[in-house]
Amino acid sequence: MTTTVEPLTPRTRRGAELMLLILAIGIVLLAWVTTDLNRNGTVPANIIPIAGGFTALVLAVHLVLRWKAAYADPVLLPITTVLNGLGLVMIHRLDLARGKLGTDGDAYRQIIWTTLAVALAVAVLFVLRDHRLLRRYTYVTMAVGFVLLLLPLVPGIGRTINGSQIWISIGPLNFQPGEFAKIALAIFFAGYLVQTRDVLSLAGKKVLGFTFPRGRDLGPILVAWVLALLVLVFQKDLGSALLFFGLFVAMLYVATERVSWIAIGLLLFAAAVAFALSAFTHFQKRVDLWLDPFSPDNLERSNQLANGLWGMASGGLTGTGLGAGRPYLTSFAESDFIFPSLGEELGLFGSVAIIVLYLIFCERGIRTALGVRDGFGKLLAIGLSFSVAFQLFIVIGGVTRVIPLTGLTTPFMSLGGSSLLANWVIMALLLRISDQARRPMPEIPVGVAADEPAPAEVTQVVRLT
């Protein structure tokens, strides 16, 4: 095979991003207006400040990107804008149905959280000039991640809401620290695995075509498993446990290219689930609800899943139109069940569009991982995009009855501050890494390398500006 390799100078594509952003804002505004027309028959009075504020927020991020990360991926921000905006519109629509208007409404709180989340994302882009700096804090983030994960178990600040102890409350604020633990652990796993992957992938003996690791290399995966088990047992939250353990196994697989890690991970998780099923009635109920949501007993216990399914069914292909359906009949229609709510009012076309948007979001994350040149960045980008993808699988799979329902938030859409903040930070990190990945390589000045010995490390911090 004869091939030629020619490096290309990538374009920044910020202009394309601006066009997509305008389209994205248009979609959100059209959705907002449709909702109010359907509910009240009038164009909302506060359309100008809300539209202006939303546009200003998004354009601010766009300008910061032009300034601080000119080569960042051009489609992440527009996609996030559409998803966040559609979530806002659905929350506003549920407010209208429940008569919660103005500052009482969930939408009002969600708008404030969105503003904070955007500010946080911008701050990340400003402070973090190079994602490789995060590698210095590998073990600090490990400690932070574990503390955040176990914080809801601390008596006094931990809160049990809806059967799961995954909340903390400080003063009037309720917070789900697990969302931030996700980011901290992704950073830790990336830093840790980039150091140890050679040991984890080379040593071991072959059984049945799989190369199995040595006993002593099983340590890290067992620690992650025990931690996930703790979350499962004490916080009674299968979703988070599955997310953390899945994140670790996926990153381990990507770092070592060994299928045996996935096999080991699945076995360990199966053992944990079998244990949980036999030990806790909480899980037995969930599995029962999943297998047979329409039986009279189960409908009496919880009609949430069934209502969500009926809602999506009544939406049909093109949906009832925003504001014209009855998503408010489902409990938690604005958080866990926001996907069925949108599915009902936008129909199959709309819900598939939403899934495709998430798909492209994760694809860009993985493309970034392929493009970036350092191992830590690769693992971090994979970890972050996998966590978004896996969380979506758990929550959308849960509401569509692919897997038992476990409460997790839909990234960018669900009502809830912690989830919004954390996911915007994930997006900012992906933007930062993709900026590094797409930026043309710095030209090495002629004759410089002649005097100084070149460092042989794989990752070295190169000042780019």
Binding site: P7, L30, V75, V446, A456
Partner: protein
Amino acid sequence: MSELTLTLLRLGLLALLWIFIFSVVGVLRTDIYGTAVSRRGQRKALKQAAKQDRKAAPRRTPSPAAVGAGAAGAAAVTPEAPARKGRRGKGNPTTLVVTEGPLTGTSLPLRSGGILIGRNPECALVLDDDYASGRHCRIHPDPSGRDGWVVEDLGSTNGTFIGRDRLTGARPVEIGTTLRIGKTVLELRG
């Protein structure tokens, strides 16, 4: 509000969503980045097409192939470009070709910024060779100002060889010079 308007709004929103998705995909399609790898056969076909085109319309410049290359944003001047040849002396190489080793057949144009060769993913030519160092050697224009290119070993463990001599300092290269790095043999061509 009439029923018709509401229906139009509902369907319009869905249409807009999908238009958005297709424009995102469109942006991605024209946004393929990284190193472009093209098969030589394809390039030959492209060149032939360009030649035929030139024959057919001798006055029409630039040829479609050149326009295509420009649109793809290729900053590196391709070795075929006559401008580069005219500027430099006749004995000066313009391309580096791998003639032996796992990457046999790969060629890449020499750039005035210099090209880095090694196992490190940041290198212009990333070798998959256990005997190569992370940053193994570099080929760049002669720093003393003379016309031509020099190759320089960057303190590699197993050395860069020209023929049987292990490279110590920078050494000028010309067309036909072969470099050996581990199991890989590179040749400079005009």
